[in-house]
C-alpha cells in the first residue's frame, strides 16, 4: 500500500481533493453537491494523506483537532438559523444577500450557504477523526 508512487502522489491528490470538495460545497444550493458530499470528499483527502504521510503529520497540518472543527460546524449551522431572529421570521428561514461585484457579476451570500458550510465542517471533522483514529491504531501495531 505504502509505495513510493503513492507517497509521492498523495499530497497532490489530497490537495486536489480538498479543492474539489470546496467546489462541490459551493455549487451545492442549486446544483448537485453540497456540504455533506463535499465534507466526505475532504475527509477522504485527509484519510489518504494520513495513510501516506502518517497521522502525526496530518494532525500537524490540520492545526485544529478534527472534533473542534466539527464543533465549529455545528456552531455555524446553528448561527445560520438564528439570523432570521433579526428579521422577525421563524427559525432557519433562508436569507439572501446579493452583492454587486465591481465587474458587474453578482455574488449571492445566504444563510443556507452558511448552514452548508457548517455541515461541511461537521462531516470533515467527524469522519476524519474516525479515520485518523483507525489509522493511528494501524500504525502502532
Amino acid at each position: 500500500m505504502n509505495t513510493v508512487i503513492f507517497r509521492t502522489v498523495a499530497p497532490y491528490l489530497a490537495a486536489l481533493m480538498v479543492l474539489f470538495s470546496v467546489f462541490v460545497l459551493l455549487r451545492g444550493h442549486n446544483e448537485p453537491g453540497g456540504g455533506f458530499i463535499g465534507g466526505l470528499i475532504a475527509a477522504s483527502a485527509i484519510a489518504i494523506y494520513g495513510i501516506a504521510a502518517g497521522v502525526d503529520e496530518v494532525r500537524k497540518a490540520l492545526v485544529f483537532h478534527p472534533i473542534a472543527v466539527a464543533g465549529l460546524g455545528v456552531f455555524l449551522a446553528a448561527i445560520a438559523g438564528f439570523m432570521s431572529l433579526f428579521v422577525e421570521a421563524p427559525f432557519l428561514k433562508g436569507l439572501w444577500l446579493f452583492l454587486e461585484l465591481s465587474d458587474g457579476s453578482e455574488l449571492a451570500l445566504s444563510t443556507p450557504m452558511l448552514f452548508d458550510i457548517g455541515v461541511y465542517l461537521v462531516v470533515v471533522g467527524a469522519i476524519s477523526s474516525i479515520a485518523l483514529a483507525l489509522e493511528e491504531d494501524e500504525e502502532t501495531r
Binding site: I67, G71, F75, A78, G81, E88, P90
Partner: protein, 532 residues
C-alpha cells in the same frame, strides 16, 4: 404528487410561505433545543480549555432551564405553541410544537441535567481529563428536548439519533472494558429500534402522505385500511424497545451500569422516557384508533414489565444493575397508564414519568456516592455505610420509598392515580399488577438498602467487624456530590408533600393529549391567519 395532496386546504403554491412576522416571543420554543446545541458546539471548540467546560455548561444549562420554564408557563397559559421552520407553512416546513406534555417533560429533563452537571464536578478526573464530557451531556439534552418538542415524525427520528450518538459517546468515554462491552449491546439494539421506527414512518407516509404530526392526527383517523394497525404495532415495537419494556429490555441492564454514575443517572432519567413519550404521541394522538386494537398487547407487556423488573432487581449482586431493573419497572407502570388509555391513565403516566425521571436520577447519583465510598458496586462487599455516612443512607431509603410508591413520597401519587384510572375502567387485574409491583419494588429496594447500609460489615463478617473497604467521602465529593444529590432528594420530598403542582402539570398534560383539536389548531392556526 404527494406534495399537493397533503395540503390541508387547497392553496396556491406561492403562499406556501408564512406571511407576516413571527414574534420574538415565539422563539421560546427554539431556545430549549438551540441553547444546549450551541453550548455543545462551543465546548467542542474549546477543547484546550478544560477549566472552562464546567462553568460554561452550567451557565448554558441554567439558561436552558429558564427557557424551558418560560415555554412551560406559556403553554400552560395559552395552550400549544408551534413554530414552523424556515418560514414555510405547515405541513411543508418542519414544525416544532410544544403542548403541556412535551413542555413538562422538557422542563424536567433540563432540571435533571443541571443537577447532574453539578454532580459531575465531584469527580475530579472527569472534569480535567475526560474531554468532551460536558459537550456530550449538552448534546444529549439537545436530542431529548428536540424529541419532546418536535411536531414532525421524521424530525423525531432525527432527534432520536442525535440522542443515540451523544449517549454512545457518553457510554464509552473513559474506555474501560466493561464500557465497550455495554456500548456494543446498547448500540446494536438501539440502532435496530430506531430502524423499526424508520420503517413505521415509511409505511405511515405511504398511508397518509404527510409526516407533520398535526396533519397525521387529522388524516390518520380517516384511513380505512387495516395497514394503519400494522404501522401502530411497529411504532409500539420500536418505542417499547427504546423504553426498555419487557421482553425488549435486555439492553438496559446490560449497559446502564457500565459508564460513570453521573452518566448512568442521566440515561436512567431521560432516555427511556423519550420512548414512552413517543408511545403516547403515536398511539393516543396520531393513530388513536389503534389503541383499542393494541390494548391487550399493551396490558400484557405492562404487566410482565411490572412484575419481572423488580424480580430481576432482586437477583442482582451489582447495585447499579439492580437499579437498571427498577428503571424498567417504572416503564411498566407508565405502560400500564398507556394501556388503560383514559385521560386519568395518561394523567398517571405523565405524573409517573416525572417522578421516575427525578427519582431514578437521584438513586443513581446516591449509588454513585456509595461506589465512591466502598470502591465497588458489588453489594456483597458493601455494608455498614450507615455508620460511615448516615446522610447518604437517609437519602437512599427516601428514594427507595419514592420509587416503590409509598406515601407520603412523590412516587405514591402517580401510582394512586394509575390505580384510580384502572378502577375507573374496571381493569382490576392491571391494578393488581401495579400494586404487586409496588410491593416487589419496595422489597428489592429495601433489600439493597439493608445490604449496603444497614448491616455492619461485608458478606460473612460478624457483627462487630467494621467494613474496612469504606473510605469517607472527600470534601470535594461532599460539596459537589452529596449536596446536589441531597438537593434533588429534598425537591422530591417537597414535591411529594405538596403534590398539587404535580397534579396540575400531569392533568393539563393528559388533557392536552385528549384535545387533538388544540394541537392541530396550534400548527395550522398560522395558516388560517394567513388566509384571512
Amino acid at each position: 404528487m404527494a406534495g399537493s395532496a397533503s395540503t390541508p386546504k387547497n392553496l396556491d403554491l406561492p403562499p406556501a410561505m408564512i406571511e407576516g412576522v413571527t414574534s420574538v416571543a415565539d422563539w421560546v420554543i427554539v431556545w430549549p433545543i438551540a441553547l444546549p446545541m450551541l453550548g455543545a458546539a462551543v465546548l467542542l471548540m474549546a477543547r484546550k480549555r478544560p477549566e472552562w467546560q464546567a462553568p460554561f455548561a452550567f451557565v448554558i444549562l441554567l439558561a436552558t432551564l429558564v427557557a424551558n420554564f418560560m415555554l412551560y408557563m406559556r403553554v400552560q397559559a395559552e395552550g400549544p405553541l408551534t413554530m414552523t421552520m424556515g418560514n414555510w407553512l405547515p405541513p411543508y416546513g418542519i414544525s416544532l410544537t410544544a403542548d403541556a406534555l412535551s413542555a413538562l417533560f422538557s422542563l424536567v429533563s433540563a432540571f435533571i441535567l443541571l443537577i447532574v452537571v453539578l454532580f459531575v464536578q465531584s469527580e475530579v478526573e472527569t472534569r480535567e481529563n475526560k474531554y468532551g464530557y460536558h459537550s456530550l451531556l449538552l448534546l444529549l439534552l439537545t436530542g431529548v428536548s428536540g424529541g419532546f418538542l418536535t411536531g414532525d415524525l421524521f424530525n423525531l427520528y432525527v432527534w432520536f439519533e442525535v440522542m443515540l450518538i451523544a449517549s454512545f459517546g457518553l457510554l464509552i468515554i473513559g474506555g474501560r472494558k466493561i464500557q465497550l462491552d455495554g456500548a456494543v449491546k446498547y448500540g446494536f439494539l438501539n440502532f435496530l429500534a430506531t430502524t423499526f421506527f424508520l420503517i413505521a414512518i415509511g409505511f405511515l407516509y405511504g398511508l397518509v402522505g404527510t409526516l407533520n404530526m398535526a396533519d397525521i392526527a387529522l388524516k390518520a383517523p380517516q384511513v380505512e385500511s387495516g395497514a394503519i394497525y400494522a404501522v401502530a404495532a411497529l411504532f409500539f415495537l420500536a418505542f417499547a424497545m427504546k423504553g426498555a419494556a419487557f421482553p425488549l429490555n435486555a439492553w438496559l441492564p446490560a449497559s446502564y451500569h457500565a459508564p460513570d454514575p453521573a452518566v448512568s443517572a442521566v440515561f436512567a432519567g431521560l432516555l427511556t422516557k423519550v420512548g414512552v413519550y413517543a408511545l403516547v404521541r403515536t398511539h393516543l394522538l396520531l393513530i388513536p384508533q389503534s389503541h383499542a386494537q393494541l390494548q391487550l398487547v399493551m396490558e400484557v407487556v405492562a404487566a410482565f414489565t411490572l412484575i419481572l423488573a423488580p424480580l430481576g432487581a432482586m437477583a442482582q449482586t451489582n447495585a447499579r444493575r439492580a437499579l437498571g431493573f427498577l428503571v424498567v419497572g417504572g416503564i411498566g407502570a407508565m405502560l400500564a397508564g398507556l394501556a388503560i388509555g383514559s385521560p386519568t391513565g395518561v394523567f398517571g403516566l405523565a405524573a409517573y414519568a416525572v417522578n421516575s425521571m427525578l427519582v431514578m436520577t437521584a438513586l443513581y447519583l446516591v449509588v454513585g456516592l456509595v461506589e465512591r465510598m466502598g470502591g465497588t458496586s458489588d453489594i456483597r462487599k458493601l455494608g455498614g455505610l450507615y455508620r460511615a455516612n448516615s446522610w447518604l443512607s437517609i437519602l437512599f431509603i427516601v428514594l427507595v420509598f419514592a420509587v416503590a410508591g409509598l406515601p407520603p413520597f412523590l412516587g405514591f401519587w402517580p401510582k394512586m392515580i394509575l390505580v384510580q384510572a384502572g378502577v375507573e375502567v374496571g381493569n382490576f387485574w392491571l391494578v393488581a399488577f401495579i400494586l404487586l409491583n409496588s410491593i416487589l419494588t419496595s422489597i428489592a429496594g429495601t433489600r439493597l438498602w439493608a445490604h449496603i447500609f444497614w448491616r455492619d460489615g461485608r458478606e460473612g463478617a460478624n457483627s462487630e467487624q467494621i467494613n474496612e473497604r469504606i473510605r469517607p467521602l472527600t470534601t470535594r465529593a461532599k460539596v459537589w456530590g452529596l449536596l446536589p444529590a441531597g438537593a434533588l432528594v429534598a425537591f422530591i420530598v417537597v414535591a411529594g408533600l405538596v403534590p398539587q403542582p404535580l397534579f396540575k402539570a400531569g392533568a393539563t398534560a393528559a388533557f392536552a393529549i385528549y384535545e387533538p383539536a388544540e394541537y392541530v389548531g396550534s400548527v395550522f392556526g398560522s395558516l388560517s391567519a394567513a388566509e384571512e
